[in-house]
Amino acid sequence: MMGSSFHSPRSQDVIVDRRDFLRRCGMGFGGMALAGLMGGSGRALGAGPEAWPAPQFAPKAKRVVHLFMNGGPSQVDTFDPKPMLDKRHGQVIPLEGLKTERPTGTALRSPFSFARYGKSGLEVSELFAHTAAHADELCVIRSMTADVPNHEPSLMLMNCGDGRLSRPSVGSWISYGLGSANDNLPAYVSMCPGGMPIKRAENWRSSFLPGNFQGTYLDTSIQDVERMLENLRNPRARDSRQAKQIAFLEEINRRHLAERQHDPQLEARIRSFELAYRMQSDATDAFDLSKEPAAIKEMYGPGDFARQCLMARRLVERGVRYIQLWHGNGQPWDSHDDIEDHRRLARECDQGIGAFLTDLKQRGLLEETLVIWGGEFGRTPVVEMPQAGSNMGVMKGRDHNHYGFSMWMAGGGVKGGHVHGATDDFGFAAVDKPMHVHDLHATILHLLGMDHEKLTYHYSGRDFRLTDVHGVVVRSIIA
């Protein structure tokens, strides 16, 4: 019945506790405010209260920050050291039926050195030294698996739980399930500097969920806050004038209301203008990094990604539910030609990530914020061969690899200084405790206090969920 505001109203559909409904849906930006009061039936959003997830257990995390290394970072060069690759460098290694997207050749050792960090002695490559300073907070999953070695379906799988079909993104599900904690900001923000990742807005789509659960995209290479959000600012009217406009509009609307019987639709719309006016300053404030002290800015370092991390911290403080930070437009981590490029990429984000974790920790926010790092898949431990039209440069790069790759999580109730699962000797395929993307999703929802089998949305005749018919909560990584 959901997915439609059109239906014959029945008495049990009337939201009994409107306050509760509004809390769940958020009155704000990404929330729905007063939704779908079609025909004054009190029917909200086509979803009966029975459809809302009953909290099954206390949440460990209140929100998620997903650092998306789009393009696919290599596990054997970052969080999954493989000494065997050094030994067998340049030799053919058994692939055992592992087909790669493009032609690949012999074993390619990592040009980066690994060291042990923290009390846990977690091994991390030199690329992520700043991140590694938080080794004892990191839960590294070395046995991630996806379905295919192609960017598009893997991005869709990681973000929306299905490689092919149009399904809502994780952030949409979470905003739908938990609502917004801030009236004046979007519940779900997706940031990417200088453009969008491939598949563009499909990565944060709401699909058949109502449109307001879609991620709000921000181009963080734009320094001017007012241009980041559509219609946030009136290019002509001064604040004093706009305040008077809104007061006048309120007078017009109150007069209209007074002549009519009580109708929540009319009041909700009046309230939406008050919210909008407040949002103009609150949102501007949230994204305005000039308010940060110099020492903090310095800690995060230069560059777009660092700015995104700092913005993310400001959004975390303001109660945004789901924040996704993309490394950059296109697929920056897609180092087909030369894995050395990972050095530049890591330099662009590592300091910001380290500072972000430090900053969350020092503000006591890390334990209630689930931070996730990773790409849509990993890379092959073998070298990619050149061919016409692709990889025509040096032969030092790696192809896509969905058989085994690394991600890490921190805060939000996961075990710190922990390694989950393992790939084979070369780092090609997950062999110990493989964790599919569906399992990751089930676990994320669990950490947020939601049962992935019960967070459903009825659409087109059946109940849909993020994990479809898959997914197992991986309890061993939960603290």
Binding site: R10, R43, R164, Q223, R236, F273, G461
Partner: protein, 929 residues
């Protein structure tokens, strides 16, 4: 006339099926029951009256007559009513006048535009296919489907035909260029994915769209609750699996502009020729004796080494531009020939020789084999080249099968160019997004768990089991037979109910049953009798939607007051018996259209044509139905205002109230632009007295005079307006100009005549342009001797500004360039020279500007034409007063002017514009009651 359904047999079968489970047939699967109407008057009111009696609610009073007209204009046309229409009904609020007004609106062209848009939600209409990697993702001809819908509603074609044309127009029209072919866009404007997913989308849109039935649920297993099986699903799936889109979409009209059409044909032919040339090149390469020798050697090695495609590609590339796929094809072909009866003796001999030879000798052997294959000396080998499975036998049409990544990239570029040409060229003729039955039909079969990689049982295509099943009529295409089954109101109880339910919902703001799903889980609608009567009446009228509209709109239910009788709310709060009018917020399209109509911008007579992007000011003349809908990146306004995502069929819009909507009314360029326009209109300017002006605005926007007290409210507000609030904010925009360079002083500045490929220039080809190489783009520019190239920033408010930026000239050598930053009155704020190569940062001194004044960045080549291009990144920062914080006012890269750029108005607006804007933002304007 409707035949008695019991006799048709389907119900008996159905009843039998359901009796087994001890249940009676589900309401939606039963035939509508014809019962006498127990009373006089419009049967809609009689049947609602019965239901109200049962529910215990009292019938309400009729609303004031002007509301009838407002509602009808909203539901039938999506535009505001005219003052004259309101006055007419107010003067004579009787039934004949009302019926005539309804007819008048049904007869207006705007009716089709309104109802086409409703159906476009159902049909998941979009102008793009979704993600398409680096290729143009537009459907250049989706608009022909939209225009067909508008015509179909306006002409009120019988609903059965409406169904049949959208599923099988190609099988019904006689001419190859019949405009009705555009109806097939219903099948083809959906989201594209893997074939199985694209087809699934078509199964879904057809079954849910026409029958409110979720057949697509049975893709992976039989439906959990409804009597729909995988067999049902794959029967329909198979029908669409065998309906392919032709490579060339049929042309269904000729552009009025003949020269443009001819120009289009020339360009299209040039693209075809280019494609052919590339394919021919690959073909010649494959047949080249030396290249063939390499392929044969690689094929032999691939056979011996057990290479996969990737290895073959990598090895081939070591020899130069050799296609890995051709290696694999040769390997497989030779292997096949070896295994055939009596393989050519020369091949067997070659095999033996290859085995014993060393590498150098092998090359020689391969050259010999190549010569034999290409020549005719050895009959056994020479005969192979004419075989279709031999790579030498591939024609140009098959060359893409051996393309490497590079070939494919280039081919995609050509495809994109073709799509772009079709989408944009003024002479590109309209085409239908049609389909055609396959010549040889693929066997229908079930996919296990919905996985096309796991084909299961073969099946006979059949009609939905729950509606009687049985195979489709054999003497026609199963697709046409399917369309007939869906449109057969006598035997299919779903279709008419599904349609009248939608029409009801779009008129009354709530449906009689969930339009997305009439399945078993849906309880019997309270108003089933009304539903059935409407369905039967609809069938009796020959499927006339306009007749249905007349019936609904002339009912009292359509005209009942918004408040209703006291006490009803406690009994039937949900208004399930429509005892009061459902107050409704105007949907996005009607809100925008009503706003543009009342501002005077909308050209209502302009019907059809290519889709327009709504954020472009030129679109202000067009109704919202003509919006370019990009399913890949739905405009933010669409998302904020609840347009359903066109990835899926939408059963109904979800209505939300979010602050983004309020921000749209407060700040969007569209509202500001339109409010300013109306405030400055000569009609308003001609009225001098304040009360007259207020009255004019109210009448224009709300079709009424201000009520008592309203005029005073507005006057008070106008009187309190502070002139300081209307000083424009400091801001501005960029222009690109060129003029003569008179010893460093630019003269005769004017725009560059052409914008092409992101650059302003004087001719398409830079080398032969009137001023060779002179051009400017967002990221860089190229000056020319004797000319000044100017990036001008024009202020729209007063304050102090500074132009800052970076120049980066990468050419290793060249003539030194000169640059200046000039403020108002040509005062130089900074200047410098730029050698090659050189990088420099610029920063002018503070310049005071007023609205309309400018700051120029001038780039010149005083020393000669050898300059190369210079990367630039120019920004303007400013502050309104020396004490104020510095603001970013404009970046040339970000805000680079294009022909479509919106120039902000210099006017800050005035209190009258604010009044207009706030009335558009008001609940009064936005709610229909």
């Amino acid at each position: 006339m409707l035949r008695p359904l019991l006799a048709s047999g389907f119900l008996l079968g159905l009843a039998a099926a359901w009796a087994q489970g001890g249940k009676s047939a589900h309401w939606a699967y039963r035939a509508p029951i014809a019962e006498p109407i127990p009373g006089p008057g419009n049967p809609v009111d009689v049947l609602l009256g019965q239901a109200r009696k049962v529910a215990g609610v009292r019938e309400g009073k009729l609303a004031e007559p002007r509301r009838w007209v407002e509602r009808a204009a909203f539901t039938l046309t999506g535009l505001p009513p005219t003052l004259e229409q309101i006055r007419r009904i107010e003067a004579t609020p009787d039934e004949p006048t009302w019926a005539a007004l309804v007819d008048e609106m049904l007869a207006s062209g705007a009716y089709g535009e309104r109802w086409a848009r409703h159906w476009m939600d159902v049909a998941r209409y979009a102008d793009t296919r979704g993600y398409h990697f680096d290729q143009d993702n537009r459907y250049p001809f989706a608009y022909t489907y939209r225009d067909w819908l508008i015509g179909a509603f306006n002409q009120d074609i019988p609903f059965e035909r409406f169904i049949k044309l959208q599923i099988a127009a190609d099988l019904l029209v006689a001419k190859q260029d019949d405009p009705d072919l555009a109806a097939l866009g219903f099948l083809t404007v959906g989201l594209r994915g893997r074939d199985a997913d694209t087809l699934d989308d078509r199964v879904d849109v057809v079954t849910r769209g026409f029958m409110s039935t979720t057949v697509a649920c049975a893709r992976c297993h039989d439906h959990k609750s409804d009597p729909i099986t995988q067999r049902d699903y794959y029967s329909i799936y198979s029908i669409f699996e065998n309906a392919a889109e032709p490579a060339e979409r049929p042309v269904i009209g000729t552009p009025g502009d003949k020269p443009a059409f001819e120009a289009y044909l020339r360009e299209a032919q040039a693209l075809e020729a280019k494609d052919l040339e590339v394919r021919q090149g690959v073909l010649e390469h494959l047949r080249d004796p030396a290249a063939l020798a390499v392929y044969l050697k690689l094929a032999w090695e691939a056979q011996k080494g057990g290479w996969d495609q990737g290895r073959a590609t990598a090895e081939a590339f070591k020899h130069g531009r050799y296609r890995g796929q051709a290696v694999v094809r040769w390997r497989d072909f030779l292997q096949k020939v070896r295994k055939e009866k009596d393989p050519p003796a020369a091949l067997t001999a070659w095999d033996g020789a290859m085995d014993s030879a060393d590498d150098a000798r092998r090359s020689g052997l391969c050259a010999q084999l190549a010569a034999s294959l290409l020549g005719d000396a050895d009959a056994g080998l020479a005969g192979l080249k004419s075989r279709k499975d031999c790579p030498l036998g591939y024609g140009v049409g098959r060359m893409h099968e051996v393309f490497d990544v590079e070939d494919t990239n280039k081919s995609r570029e050509r495809e994109s160019a073709k799509s772009k040409l079709q989408a944009e060229h003024p002479g590109s003729p309209p085409r239908a997004m049609s389909v055609k039955d396959a010549r040889d039909w693929k066997q229908a079969r079930i996919f296990l768990r919905g996985d096309p990689g796991a084909p299961g049982e073969e099946i006979q295509r059949q009609w939905l089991g729950m509606l009687g099943g049985g195979s489709f009529q054999a003497d026609k295409s199963p697709r046409l037979a399917l369309a007939e089954k869906i449109g057969d109101f006598s035997n299919n109880p779903l279709t008419a109910r599904a349609w009248i339910n939608r029409v009801w919902a779009w008129n009354f703001g709530a449906p009689l049953a969930d339009p997305g799903d009439f399945g078993i889980q849906q309880p019997e609608p309270k108003l089933l009798r009304l539903m059935d009567w409407l369905a039967l009446e609809f069938a009796r009228s020959g499927g006339s939607t306009k007749q249905l509209q007349r019936t609904l709109l002339t009912s009292r239910a359509f005209r009942v007051s918004v408040s209703g009788a006291a006490g009803n709310a406690g009994v039937d709060e949900g208004n399930t018996t429509f005892w009061k009018w459902n107050r409704r917020r105007a949907d996005f399209e009607s809100m925008r259209d009503r706003m543009l109509m009342t501002s005077g911008s909308l050209e209502v007579g302009m019907r059809g044509g290519r889709s327009v992007k709504l954020d472009e000011p030129a679109a202000d003349a067009r109704r919202s139905v003509y919006a370019f809908v990009d399913r890949f990146e739905l405009p933010g306004t669409f998302v904020s205002f609840d347009l359903p995502h066109p990835d899926h069929h939408s059963a109904g819009r979800i209505e939300t109230t979010v602050p983004q909507q309020a921000l749209f009314f407060l700040n969007s360029p569209l509202l500001l632009r339109q409010a300013a326009k109306l405030a400055e209109s000569p009609e308003l300017a001609a009225i001098k007295d304040e009360a007259g002006r207020i009255g004019w605005i109210y009448e224009r926007l709300l079709q009424r005079a201000p009520a008592s007290g309203e005029s005073e409210m507005v006057k008070r507000w106008l009187a309190a307006a502070d002139p300081a609030d209307y000083q424009p904010r400091l801001g501005g925009y960029w222009e690109i100009l060129h003029g003569q360079d008179l010893d460093g002083v630019p003269s005769g500045l004017r725009p560059l005549p052409m914008f092409d490929a992101g650059q302003w220039k004087t001719g398409k080809d830079l080398a032969t342009a009137p001023i060779p190489y002179l051009h400017a783009g967002a990221n860089g520019a190229h000056p020319a001797p004797g000319y000044a190239l100017v990036a001008r920033w024009l202020a729209t408010g007063a304050g102090e500004v500074r132009l800052v930026g970076d120049l980066d000239r990468r050419a290793k050598q060249g003539d030194t360039l000169a640059w200046e930053i000039r403020g108002p009155n040509n005062a130089v704020g900074a200047s410098g020279r730029l050698a090659a190569p050189q990088k420099t940062s610029l920063e002018s001194s503070w310049v005071a500007v007023k609205a309309g004044e400018h700051v120029d960045f001038v780039l010149r080549a005083p020393e000669g034409a050898n300059s190369g291009s210079t990367a630039w990144d120019l920004r303007v920062v400013g502050r309104e007063t020396p004490e104020a914080e510095e603001m970013d006012l404009g970046s040339l890269r970000r805000d680079f002017p294009t022909p479509g750029s919106v120039r902000p108005s210099m006017a800050a607006g005035d209190p009258w514009a604010d009044l207009i804007q706030m009335l558009w933002a008001s609940n009064d304007f936005n709610f229909i009651e």
